[in-house]
Symmetry: none
Subunit: 208 residues, 4 copies
DNA sequence: GCATAAACGAGACGGTACGTCAGGTCTTGAA
DNA sequence: TTCAAGACCTGACGTACCGTCTCGTTTATGC
C-alpha cells in the first residue's frame, strides 16, 4: 500500500476507515462486475468516498486491485498433517479454495496481464502476493526434512532453485487447472497431483 | 472465428485479405501497446480497414485477441527426440519460446482473465487454444509407451484424467514460471522440471 | 428529376416503377420519421429497391426530398370564385392544406435550410417548387384586371416586381403562420389576411 | 438554456466562460460549415472544451443552435422614425440584415424544420426567438395610435389576433424573400412592401 | 436467338459523426 | 490538509448512415 513513515503532521488527517472501506468495496465490485466491469467511480460510490480520496491513496485500477486481492492470499497456512503428501494436498486445496472465489479469479489474472508490461506492477505483485507464499514451500520442506522424507539440501543455491521450481509447479498446476482448464480442484485431483509430484509420472501411472 | 458454412451467397463477399490483415495488425498492436493499450480503432487503422469491417467479424476486443493469439500456439510440435525426458524438455522449451513473445504474454493472460466471467469466451479459448495442444501430451505418451518408458494404460477414464493432469502440470508450470515468476525458462530449468516430473520430488532432490 | 434525352439506348432500361416507388417511400418515411430521421437505406427498403438503384437516380437526400415534396405543390389551382378576395382566400387555404401534411412540413424547411449553402439545390427548389406556383399570382392578377379590380399594369418591370412581392407576401405569411407560429390557417385567418392585403392595415383595422 | 434556480451548491461549479465560448463557437461553425456540416465535436474543439462539457449543457445540435441563434435577434430595435411607414421599413431592413448573416440563414431554417416534429423544440424556439420579437409590433402599433395613424383597438381579442397576423405577414414576407426567393431585401423592396401593407394591393399597384 | 450492356438485389467496404462512458485531474466549500 | 461533490479534458467505445464498390442475376435490345 503506501508507506508514509515521514509524517504529514498538519491538516486534516486521513480517514482510517476509508482505506479498508475502499478495499472491501473493490472486492465487492470484483464479485459483481469482474475486472473489466470494475469502475473506480463505482468503487468510490460503494465505499461512500469521493474519487479524489481513492486517487490520493492508489495510483490506479491495477494498484488498487493488487492490494485488494493480495490480502486474500494471506490466509494460506500449512498445518502439520503428518506427512509431506498430506501437507501438499492440504495447501493445494486451500489455494484452490481461494482461487474459486470470484473476487480472486478475474482480478488476479487481469493484474498479472497488466504486469507483463509494467515492471513496477510486477514487482508489487511479487512482493504482495507471490513471494509471501513461498514461505509455505520452505516450511513444508523443512518439516519433510525433519521427518526424513526429504534429504537435507547439499548446495544452498540448488536448494533455492528447487524451491522456486516446486513453487511454480504447485501454484502453476492449481492455477492452470482452475482458471484455464476451468475444472475443479477437488480431493481426488489433489491426490493424483501429489502422487505425481512425489513419485514421478511413470510410478504414478503404473498403479492408480 | 466465424463459421460460414451456411452460405449467404448474395451481396459482395467479405474480403479475405481483411481477415488476415486484421489479425496481423492485432498481433503487432499487442507487441507495441500491450493488451490494455490496444484499441480496436488502432487495429483497424493498422490493418488499413474500417472499424466497421472489424466489428462485422468480431464481437469485441476479447474475441479478436483470442483468434490473434491462438494461431501462435499452432506451431507447437513434438519431434521425436528418442526419450520421454527429451521430448518433454523439447516441448517445454517450445512452449516457453512462444510465451516469451510479447504478443502472447499480455494477450493470453488478459483473455483468460475475461474468460473467468464469460462462458462463451472460455469455450472459445478452450477450443482455439487449450484443447488443441493436448494432442502433444497424447502423442508423447503413445511414443513413451511404444518405447516401454510408460506402462500401457489400464483404465481409459483414468488415463484421460492423467492426460489432463499432466497437461495442467506442464503448461501450468511453464506459464507460472514465465508470466508470474517472470523468470526465464531455459534449458537447466527445463531439465530440472522434467527430472521432478519423471522421478518425483525426493528422487530429484537427492542427486542433482 | 433526371433528364435522359441523350439516350442510353442499350442495356436494361431503368425500371419505371422504381422511380415512383422511391418517391412514395420517401414521402412515407418523411411522415413517419421526419427529415432528420429519414435514411436513404430505409427509403430503399421501403421502396423494395436496392440503395444502388436510388443513388443511380438521385445524388443524395436533398435532391430526393425536393423531388418528393415538389409534386405535392402541383395540385394547387386557382378556380375562379368571382372576386379577387375570394380567389386569394381560396389559394391561401389550399396552400395551407398542403403545408399541414407532415411529409411537406419538415421536408420543405429542411431542404430550404440546406439550400442556403448549396446553390444547385436552391436552383432546383426554385425550378421545382417556387417558380411553378407564381403562375397562380399571374393568373389571379389577370383575372382581377379583367374584372376591373386591379388597374392594368403600366410598366412591365414594375409589374414583375409586384408579382414577386405579392408572392413573397402570400406564401411567406402562410408559411410563417403554419410552420413558425404553428397556428392553423383557417377561414377566419384567411379572411383577415386577405382584408389587410387588399385594403391595407389601417383600413382593415378600423372596421372588423 | 438550462434553469439552475434549484441550486446544486456542492461540487465544482460549471464554468461560466464555457457557456459563451460554446455559443460563439457554434455561430462560427455555422458560418464556416452551415447547419448540416456542423459537428458537435468540432464546436467543442473550437470552444476549447470537451464534448462532454457540451453535452452536459445541451441535449443536442438543435437545442444548441437555437440558443446560439436566438441571441442574434435580440438586437432588433424600433427607433422612432416619425411615421408608421418609416418604422416598418426600418424594422424590415433590420430583420433582413440579421437574416443575411450566414450564421442565421441555415441555422434558423434547419431548427424550424426540426421543430415540426419536436414540440419541446418548437416551444423553445417560440419563447427564445419568436415571441420576443412581437414586442416590436406592439410598440409600433402603440406609437402609430399615438400619432393617429391607426385607430385605437376596439376589442382586445381582435387586437391580439391582428398583432399575430401582422407579425406573420412582416416576418413571413422578409423570410420568404430572403431565404426562399433568395433575393435581397433592399430599400426599394422594403418601401414597396410597406406600401402594400399600409395601402392595400390595388392602391399600391395603381401608382408606383 | 443470342450476345451485349446496362440495371438490378444484396451486402461488404472505408469513412465520419454520433452520444456515452471511464480515467484521472481540478475546483469548490465545509470539516 | 483532507473530505464529498461534481465539473472538467481526454480518448475509446460500439452504432448508425453515408456514398461507393463488388458480386451474381435479370432484362431489354440489336447484330
Amino acid at each position: 500500500m503506501q508507506s508514509r513513515s515521514s509524517a504529514p503532521r498538519t491538516g486534516r488527517p486521513r480517514s482510517v476507515e476509508a482505506d479498508e472501506a475502499i478495499l472491501a468495496a473493490t472486492r465487492a465490485a470484483l464479485v459483481d462486475l469482474g475486472w473489466s466491469g470494475l469502475t473506480l467511480g463505482d468503487v468510490a460510490t460503494r465505499a461512500g468516498v469521493a474519487k479524489t480520496t481513492l486517487y490520493r491513496r492508489w495510483a490506479g485500477k491495477n494498484e488498487l486491485v493488487v492490494d485488494a486481492v493480495a490480502a486474500l492470499f494471506d490466509e494460506l497456512e500449512l498445518p502439520d498433517r503428518g506427512t509431506l503428501a498430506a501437507d501438499i494436498e492440504g495447501v493445494v486445496l486451500q489455494f484452490a479454495a481461494i482461487l474459486a472465489r470470484p473476487e480472486a479469479r478475474s482480478g488476479l489474472l487481469a493484474v498479472l496481464a497488466e504486469s507483463t508490461r509494467d515492471d513496477a506492477l510486477r514487482e508489487r505483485i511479487r512482493t504482495s502476493v507471490v513471494d509471501r507464499q513461498k514461505r509455505l514451500v520452505l516450511e513444508g520442506r523443512a518439516r519433510a526434512q525433519a521427518r526424513g522424507e526429504l534429504p537435507p539440501e547439499s548446495d544452498p543455491s540448488t536448494a533455492d532453485r528447487t524451491v522456486n521450481l516446486i513453487f511454480d509447479m504447485v501454484a502453476g498446476a492449481v492455477v492452470h487447472r482452475t482458471l484455464v482448464s476451468a475444472e475443479p480442484v477437488d480431493e481426488p485431483w489433489a491426490r493424483s497431483f501429489t502422487r505425481v509430484l512425489l513419485l514421478g509420472l511413470p510410478a504414478a501411472a503404473s498403479h492408480p
